[in-house]
């Protein structure tokens, strides 16, 4: 199809590369180098979307990332993306996009009823209604929710990959227009590690639009030369298509690079779609340029109203003239160049200038070009809704508040507006920079920032090209110098011939025939969120005078464009209402990101199967191969049970439990934390961190200990063994390993630096297999023929080094099951060999591998606690009925003083007890509560809760542990446990040992 608005030549598009795409199901042609917006305009498509609230028809307003209107749904299926700015989406073959927030079509949208109703829907209307009847709110809300939102999210997983990239540099330059390029030259030539970033597909910024010569060259030639020089410097990194999204403390900036987006969906997903840069810069040069301000006039949102600079970009950069009859509406000189270029491209142009007597060389040029200039006048209305067919113009009164003459209409399909330029101070502001209001430019410019950053060029309020180049050069050189590089060779300054810009005339709200807010016409500020000048007046009237209240009440600046085109206009109008200066009104806070940033890119490659590590032991593969079902314990994968075909968890666990007590079981205990502790003061350290006494422990002997935090609460437990003189091997819970090591280091390094102790984590150094059960010794005898295994030489709570299955091993006679147990530690590389040898040797004795679930049952049968399950960070050793482990003799240990605080020492605290259900087959759910008295329905007063609960095959019944108020004094009493299901179970409080009360088996 013919691109009816495409100019016969010119532009930076590649006319040899036609590109086909679809919009709203219709096929169109464009060229490589187009953005979707440019291609749509080339094809004469001006109606692109519908607005958020009123569903007003909207077109394309800008040519950059500040676009508030032209948001589209890009792509389909798993790759669909909502809210993509048509002005940023580069065209590729097969691109397909749709209008969003409209139904059934963008041309005929039912939601446009809101526009008709708009007089009932002013800012904040929802706070005032939908309150009656109260019960209907959720229904109202449902309707509101469905009406809101813009595009649709995908519903599938993302097929693309993303990557992150850390980097450091001497000088980071944000923005590759003339200022940024000049800065990059200076910094690059100095030898500094320099990164130049620009969010567009090519460097050049405004120079891709403008025609002012530099050193006698066309600006694009200068850009090409400059980029070529920079590309040749290996200390310079060039990052086009990369948006610096955020500026954090200490010169840390993030940037999102679109690696393949411009190519469309990729078959080879190994190349990341986007790369997220994390940059630590010694020095930063901000050269972000400036954004043009729209003029707030009646119906300034119609498709066909665009920024003057944007129109010029479409003409010069994309070779598109989106209308043949154009009205350029301005308060400053810069739009004259648009008018001239449009005229030269063949359009009929009217210039409407708010200034009564513009008089600058460019004005004369425009006149000479045959452009009619309406001075001291304004556009006061638009004819047409889905497209423009006429523009109403009228002269303005001196104060700009009313019309000073009759309105006349000129035929036009396009309005190009300019109310001046706002420096892009977003990143500067994010850097904690303070802004200053510049009266001449009527906008905010950078003032000072605590970070090592400089602003140069248009983002610094410098709008001449010569000024931009000079400032860029200077900033680049100074930044390099501050980063330690001599910049004497920065290069000569550039020669540019241009006119000084003339003054401006601000009319913050252009009047129309009707008083503001009273006619059918609307003066839009925030196009995306449909906030009008009248809404600002309403907010002020109702007392939402603070700029922050204004923002939140009207939602101005809260859309996906974050008010890039609207904020200053909103402030200005508020300042007029309040008769305050604009700086008094102030700005809202600039926050990251500069433009919306893909979550996938920020997540990087750590997603899906690479989300988080699976920590597996040296024997992990064996468990997998033998059908283990795993559970997550922190980031460990632990074998939970080993079902035989047809078994469920209960059945498997019952079998494992029985067999482990009758013959011998084997468990992988490698995950326990292990810390090597050495030094003359090792015992002293243990005495401080454990509640019990450690001085007397002999080499080869082990002891159980409890650790408290300074609040007096149990936070870890484990067995520590004396390996040799001044040398200990501490074990911790699986989840507590890192915490305990940090705890020891904290005290050693900060509080007791004189203690001579070194701690080294050895958790993964050792693979650990535990043999447990009456036949354990027989198995050991088979695999460790050289070890003395008789209980006299190798008793309970002893350790011995030797050979097991031919492997170097440390064997501990400690037990978490209450049965005769050996914890066999070998270097991790032999873990699998050890395990296989033990299985082999155990086979004649009926060995059974068991998992964590069985371990939990076996230890509960013995009343052994699991810290974190039977205790929860509010439990003292006394609460656990473990007075025996709290030394009465030691002067001090961590947490000691807390145990005697009023509340901690109070009787009647929750204490750990055993529970027996009335029905021996009923297993209480963990977390169920005991109550004083069952009532027909809650609330009921509870006295405690079940912490552990299992069916114990060895006790032949269900067993449970519970924390119960004053539990230790209530043994023998019965209470009830009501469940949500309606079932009420009666339980009796007992002690915590359900099996082998004398404790003979472990010593065996």
């Amino acid at each position: 199809m013919a691109q009816k608005n495409r100019l016969p030549d010119g532009g930076r598009i590649d006319r040899t590369k036609p590109v086909r795409f679809q919009f709203n199901g219709k096929r169109y042609d464009g060229f490589s180098g187009d953005t979707l917006a440019a291609a749509l305009l080339a094809n004469g498509v001006s109606l692109v979307g519908r607005s958020f609230k009123y569903h007003r028809p909207r077109g394309i307003m800008t040519a950059g990332s500040e676009e508030p209107n032209a948001l589209v749904q890009l792509g389909t299926g798993a790759r669909t993306e909502p809210n993509i700015r048509a002005t940023q989406a580069e065209l590729f073959d097969g691109l397909s996009a749709d209008s969003q927030n409209c139904w059934p079509s963008v041309g005929f949208d039912i939601g446009a009823i809101n526009s008709v109703m708009s007089k009932y829907l002013p800012a904040g209307f929802y706070y005032k209604t939908f309150m009656w009847p109260a019960s209907l709110w959720m229904t109202y809300e449902h309707v509101i929710r469905n009406a809101a939102g813009l595009g649709k999210g995908p519903t599938e997983s993302d097929p693309d990959r993303y990557a992150q990239h850390h980097t450091a540099c001497d000088v980071l330059i944000v923005g590759g227009g003339p200022s940024g390029l000049a800065a990059a030259l200076a910094a690059g030539r100095s030898g500094a590690r320099t990164i130049l970033v620009d969010e567009q597909s090519e460097f050049g910024g405004w120079l891709l639009t403008d025609d002012t010569e530099i050193d006698g060259m066309a600006p694009t030639d200068w850009v090409a030369n400059t980029v070529k020089e920079l590309a040749g410097l290996d200390n310079v990194t060039l990052l086009p298509r990369t948006t610096v999204s955020a500026y954090f403390d200490h010169n840390f900036l993030t940037a999102a690079q679109r690696v393949t987006d411009h190519l469309g969906p990729q078959e080879n997903t190994k190349t990341p779609r986007q790369r997220f840069w994390k940059i630590r810069a010694k020095q930063v040069v901000l050269a972000q340029g400036s954004l043009e301000r729209p003029i707030v006039f009646a119906d300034n949102d119609r498709p066909g109203v665009m920024l003057a600079g944007a129109l010029r970009t479409y003409i010069n950069r994309y070779g598109v003239l989106p209308g043949r009859e154009i009205v350029v509406f301005t308060n400053n000189d810069s739009a004259y160049r648009t008018a001239i270029d449009a005229k030269n491209a063949g359009a009929v142009v009217h210039l409407v200038d708010l200034r009564p007597d513009p008089d600058n060389p460019v004005v004369h040029q425009a006149r000479q070009a045959g452009i009619q200039i309406h001075e001291g006048s304004a556009v006061v209305g638009i004819k047409g809704a889905k497209s423009i067919h006429g523009v109403e113009i009228a002269p303005l009164s001196e104060d700009g508040k009313s019309l000073a003459g009759p309105t006349f209409v000129v035929s036009a399909s396009l309005v190009a507006m300019s109310s001046g330029w706002n420096p892009s101070v977003h990143l500067f502001s994010q850097s904690r920079g303070k802004l200053r209001f510049d009266d001449a430019l009527t906008t905010f410019v950078p003032d000072h920032t605590p970070q090592k950053t400089r602003s140069a060029g248009a983002c610094n309020g410098t709008f001449t090209l010569a000024g931009c180049l000079a400032e860029g050069m200077e900033a680049g050189a100074a930044a390099a110098k501050d980063a330690g590089f001599d910049s004497a060779i920065a290069g000569p300054s550039h020669v540019v011939k241009e006119d000084a810009p003339g003054s401006m005339r601000q009319v913050w709200t252009v009047p129309t025939v009707h008083p503001l807010g009273k006619g059918t016409r609307k003066h839009f500020l925030d196009h995306q969120n449909d906030v009008t000048a009248a809404d600002v007046h309403l907010a002020a009237r109702e007392g939402y005078l603070s700029v922050e209240h204004l923002k939140r009440y009207t939602t101005t600046g809260m859309g996906t464009d974050q008010g890039k085109t609207s904020n200053v206009n909103a402030l200005a109008i508020m300042s007029e209402i309040r008769s305050a200066s604009i700086p008094e009104v102030g700005t809202t806070t600039f926050r990251p990101p500069y433009t919306p940033t893909t979550y996938g890119a920020m997540a990087g490659q750590g997603v899906q199967e690479l989300f988080e590590q699976y920590r597996g032991t040296a024997m992990h593969d064996w468990h997998v191969n033998n059908g283990a079902v795993f559970e997550d314990v922190g980031d460990w994968k632990r074998a939970r049970y080993y079902p035989k075909p047809g078994e469920d968890m209960d059945e498997a666990v019952r079998r494992e439990c029985k067999q482990a007590r009758e013959t011998v079981g084997i468990m992988d205990a490698s995950t326990l934390g292990k810390i090597d502790i050495q030094g003359p003061d090792a015992a002293k350290l243990l005495n401080m961190v454990y509640t019990n006494a450690w001085s007397a422990l002999k080499p080869g002997r082990a002891r159980y200990g409890l650790m408290l935090n300074e609040h007096g609460m149990v936070f870890d437990d484990g067995v520590t063994t004396c390996i040799g003189e001044n040398h200990y091997h501490m074990t911790t819970t699986t989840g507590g390993a890192a915490r305990v090591l940090n705890w020891l280091e904290e005290w050693l390094q900060t509080e007791w630096p004189d203690m001579e102790v070194y701690c080294t984590s050895v958790t993964e150094e050792w693979a650990v297999a535990t043999l447990s059960g009456p036949k354990a010794r027989e198995v050991m005898e088979a695999v460790a023929p050289k070890m003395a295994l008789d209980p006299q030489t190798f008793p309970f709570m002893a350790m011995q080094e030797g050979e097991v299955a031919g492997l170097p091993a440390r064997v501990f006679r400690i037990s978490f099951t209450g049965d005769l147990s050996y914890e066999i530690n070998v270097p991790a590389r032999y873990g699998m060999a050890l395990w296989e040898a033990l299985m082999e040797a155990g086979r004649p004795h009926g060995i059974v591998p068991y998992g964590t679930e069985t371990m939990h049952v076996l230890r509960a049968e013995k009343g052994f606690i699991i810290v974190g399950q039977d205790s929860d960070g509010t439990v003292t050793p006394y609460d656990l009925d473990m007075d025996w482990i709290v030394s009465k003799k030691k002067d001090d240990f961590l947490g000691k003083r807390s145990l005697t605080r009023t509340d901690t020492a109070r009787p009647g605290r929750k204490q750990l007890v055993g529970l027996l259900t009335e029905d021996p087959n009923f297993v209480l759910p963990e977390g169920a509560h005991l109550v004083k008295e069952v009532k027909p329905k809650p609330p009921m007063d509870t006295i405690g809760h079940v912490t552990s609960s299992y069916f114990s095959p060895n006790a032949g019944r269900s067993i449970a542990l519970a924390l119960v108020k004053d539990g230790l004094n209530l043994k023998g009493s019965s209470f009830q446990v009501p469940l949500m299901s309606g079932h009420v179970e009666t339980v009796t409080i007992t002690d915590t040992i359900f099996f082998d009360k004398e404790g003979e088996r472990a010593r065996g």
Partner: protein, 414 residues
């Protein structure tokens, strides 16, 4: 106060919305009030409202150094729930949820309290034990509480990945939980309090106290001294700064807590979802953004912004739990200053200075208690004795050891 309703809206549309009244006045501070409340966040405004409404004390001023609701009230992820483990917590948060349930009507301001349900996901055995205990505790406290199977979770939230690295094993649901429109809460209380005569004074910073013989006499502000025999301090992240002015310390640390929103999209998540093991929480606002949050940064900061690390830490979990979010985009990120106690429970308390009351320590989770806290705090100040619901939350618990340790016991905040 002229009433808001659909009728007033239609009527005002007729006059081009030119006759709406100011939501609240902007009075100059008077030399003396019966009660001064420092801090114009939700809690402070609610306190003032209930003082005027229920305690008959109308000579009340709320002193706010910036703009109303500009503290954590204006920057939180708006989760409301009362499914807390411990009886003391259940007491105060459920008291609050009950007030939420009639709040729009009470204030004649739609605070958009949306009881869309709130899910706590359990991803491992330990989580299951935790929700088991908490779910039962909540239920026995007479608060709604349900256990869901993974299949039921999937049905409620079809876009959730329940078979990820840490599969969903179950969930705890509070149907009466949900969200509310945070700004509207501040504005609604302000408007209603103002209508009862409360002076709301913005852009006025309290810089010191007038204390004689251990008894508070008034406050010093950037707009002059104001006398008051009873002063309530409700300054969230700045509580220790205030305590310092009064000469004592508080068991608090002020940490950055961040949140972020995505670009708005059509409804896709209808519930509030919280996961501790995968460490992210998400809901979708009425406007369409996904509101996402996580834990605090780990260092004290009054900068009211967070670092990038914490944001980044949320991304993996977010995409893990909701793979479709990978192609969505973050629109805005911000931070608040939250005052965190060791036991993650608030402080509502008398202080060493007579007549000076503190309401703070809400940390990462006090928005939900805005009505409840204001209500019991108002009664405490009015009666000179802490309201029974507030009494357990005294500062003294850090000395006696009677912590209300939601953190240790349940490891859930927000």
């Amino acid at each position: 106060m002229s009433k808001y309703s659909i009728f007033s809206l239609i009527r005002n549309a007729g006059s081009y919305h030119e006759n709406w009244q100011r939501a609240w006045r902007s009075p100059d501070p008077q030399p003396e009030y019966e009660v001064v409340i420092i801090g114009g966040g939700g809690h402070g405004l609610a306190t003032a409202y209930y003082l005027a409404k229920e305690c008959g004390i109308r000579r009340v001023a709320v002193i706010e150094k910036g703009w109303l609701g500009g503290g954590n009230t204006g920057r939180n992820t708006t989760i409301v729930r009362s499914n807390y483990l411990l009886d003391e917590s259940a007491g105060i948060y459920e008291h609050s949820v009950k007030l939420w349930e009639g709040l729009s009507q009470e204030l004649n301001f739609n605070v958009m309290f949306s009881q869309r349900g709130l899910l706590h996901l359990a991803h491992n055995v330990h989580d299951m034990q935790e929700i088991g205990r908490r779910g039962n505790a909540i239920w026995l406290n007479g608060i709604d509480s349900e256990f869901l199977t993974p299949e039921q979770v999937k049905e409620m939230v079809p876009l959730m990945n329940i078979n990820g690295r840490y599969p969903v094993l179950g969930a705890l649901l509070q149907r009466r939980g949900g969200t509310a429109r945070h700004d509207a809460v501040a504005w609604g209380y302000a408007r209603a309090a103002d209508a009862l005569g409360v002076d709301i004074i913005q852009n006025c910073e309290v810089t010191g106290f007038d204390i004689k013989n251990g008894v508070v006499q008034g406050v010093r502000t950037t707009r002059g001294d104001i006398k008051a025999k009873r002063v309530g301090v409700v300054t969230a992240g700045h509580s220790t700064v205030m305590a310092d002015m009064a000469g004592f310390r508080m068991p608090l640390e002020s940490l950055p807590l961040q949140a972020m929103v995505s670009e708005p999209i059509k409804p896709c998540i209808d519930t509030v979802i919280m996961s501790n093991a995968v460490h992210v929480y998400v809901s979708q606002s009425d406007k369409g953004e996904l509101v996402v949050g996580a834990g605090t940064d780990a260092y004290i900061s009054y900068a009211q912004r967070g670092g990038f690390d914490m944001m980044e830490h949320i991304m993996g979990p977010l995409v893990e739990l909701f793979p479709f979010t990978s192609r969505l985009r973050m629109l805005r990120q911000w931070g608040g200053i939250v005052d965190v106690t060791v036991d993650r429970s608030p402080i509502l308390s008398k202080t060493p200075v007579e007549g000076l009351y503190f309401n703070c320590g809400w940390g990462t989770g006090g928005f939900k208690c805005t009505p409840g806290s204001g209500h019991v705090f108002a009664h405490s100040i009015a009666n000179g004795e802490m309201h029974p619901i507030a009494a357990p939350f005294s500062i003294d618990r850090f000395n006696t050891g009677a912590l209300i340790d939601e953190a240790a016991a349940a490891a859930v905040a927000h």
